[in-house]
C-alpha cells in the first residue's frame, strides 16, 4: 500500500489522553509537544494537524482533568445528609489533590484566556457550593464555599510542598474541617437533629 506510507493513526482524543498522562507523571510543567509526540510514536509537527498550538491543547487538558475530578466528586455528593455530603466531598477533594497533585495543580492553576473557560470547572465549583450551602442552610452560600475551598486547597498544597515539616500537620486538617462545620451549622436553623459525625473519615488515604 504505497499510497498509505503515512497512514493516519493519530486522533485528538489520543493526543489529549497522552497529554494528560504527561502532566500526571511529568509534573505540572512537564507538558511538551515533543514529549507527547514521542510517547505516541510520532514527531512533534504531526500534532499541529489536530491542535493549532499548544495553548489549545492545554485548555483541553485542563477540561479533561476537571472532568476526572467531577466524576469522583459526583459520587461523593450523593449522600442525603448535608453534613455527610460535605464531609465526603471534602475528603474526596483532598484525596484527589494529594494523590494526583500535578493533575490537580495544573487544572486549578491553569490561567488560560477567558475563551477557554471550563465547563467542568464550573460544575466542580457548583458541587462545592451546593454542599456547603446544604450545611449552612443558606442557598448559594458563596462565602461558605469559598472559605472551605480555600482551606482544602491550601492544606493540600502546603502538604505537597512539605511545608509542615517533620512534625507534620498534627490534626490541622480535622481542626479546620470542624471549624467550618461548626460555623456553617450555626448559620442554619439553631435546632437540628444531633447528627454530627466525627471528622475521622478524613484521613490520608490512597486512591484505589
Amino acid at each position: 500500500m504505497l499510497t498509505m506510507a503515512y497512514p493516519k493513526h493519530l486522533s485528538s482524543a489520543d493526543i489529549l489522553k497522552t497529554a494528560v498522562n504527561m502532566v500526571e507523571y511529568g509534573g505540572t510543567d512537564g507538558l511538551s509537544l515533543r514529549a507527547v509526540a514521542s510517547a505516541l510514536g510520532v514527531k512533534a509537527p504531526s500534532l499541529y494537524r489536530y491542535f493549532p498550538h499548544k495553548e489549545v491543547l492545554e485548555a483541553a487538558v485542563a477540561e479533561e482533568i476537571f472532568n476526572l475530578m467531577l466524576g469522583e466528586f459526583r459520587a461523593a455528593s450523593e449522600s442525603a445528609d448535608p453534613e455527610t455530603r460535605l464531609r465526603r466531598l471534602a475528603d474526596t477533594y483532598l484525596r484527589f489533590a494529594r494523590d494526583r497533585f500535578p493533575l490537580y495543580s495544573f487544572a486549578v492553576q491553569s490561567r488560560l484566556p477567558e475563551k477557554y473557560s471550563s465547563k467542568a470547572g464550573k460544575a466542580v465549583w457548583n458541587l462545592l457550593l451546593e454542599a456547603a450551602s446544604g450545611v449552612s442552610g443558606q442557598p448559594d452560600d458563596t462565602a461558605a464555599a469559598v472559605a472551605i475551598w480555600s482551606f482544602l486547597h491550601g492544606y493540600a498544597t502546603l502538604e505537597h510542598f512539605g511545608v509542615f515539616g517533620a512534625s507534620g500537620p498534627k490534626g490541622g486538617l480535622e481542626r479546620g474541617v470542624e471549624a467550618f462545620m461548626s460555623n456553617f451549622r450555626s448559620s442554619a436553623e439553631p435546632v437540628r437533629k444531633e447528627h454530627r459525625p466525627r471528622a475521622t473519615d478524613i484521613r490520608r488515604q490512597k486512591l484505589p
Copy 2:
C-alpha cells in the same frame, strides 16, 4: 590602570538583591542567571564567581524573601491582645501574599534540598504558631496554626489565579477567619472578655 581592565563591581549581595527583583517582577519561574547578569550589566558566567550554581542562589533568594515576610509579620505580631494579634497577622500575611505573589509563591513553594532549610521560614512559622496558640489558649497548638495557615494560603492562591470568577469571593475571607476565631476561642477558657473585633479589618489593601 591596565591591571584593572575588569574591575570588581559585583558582590553576592548585589546579585541576591537583583535576583529577588527578578522573581518579584519576572514571575515565579523568571529567575535566570542570564537575566540577573544582564540587569547587573555583566554576563552570566561572571555570577559563578559568587554562586557555585543556581540552586545556591535560589536558596539565598528564598531565605531573603522569608526575611522580608518576617519583617512585616513581626510588626503585626506586637499587639497585646491575642485575638487582635492573630487578626493582624492574618491580615498582613494575606496582604504580602496578594501584593507580592511571585515572591510569596517562590518562597513557600521552593522545594529545595534539606541542606538549604530556611531559618527565616521557620521563624515565620513560629509567629503563626504563637499567634494561633494565643487565641486557643493551648500552648504549641500546631493544629490551629496549620488550619488557619492552610486557609490563608489557599485563599491567596485561588484569588491570584482568578478561580473565584466574576462573582468574586463574596465574603469568603471574613467567613473563614471568623470560623477559625470562633473555633480557637472555644478551645480557650469558656469565659472571656467580650473583646471580639469584627473581621472588617481584613480587606483587599495595597502595600504603601
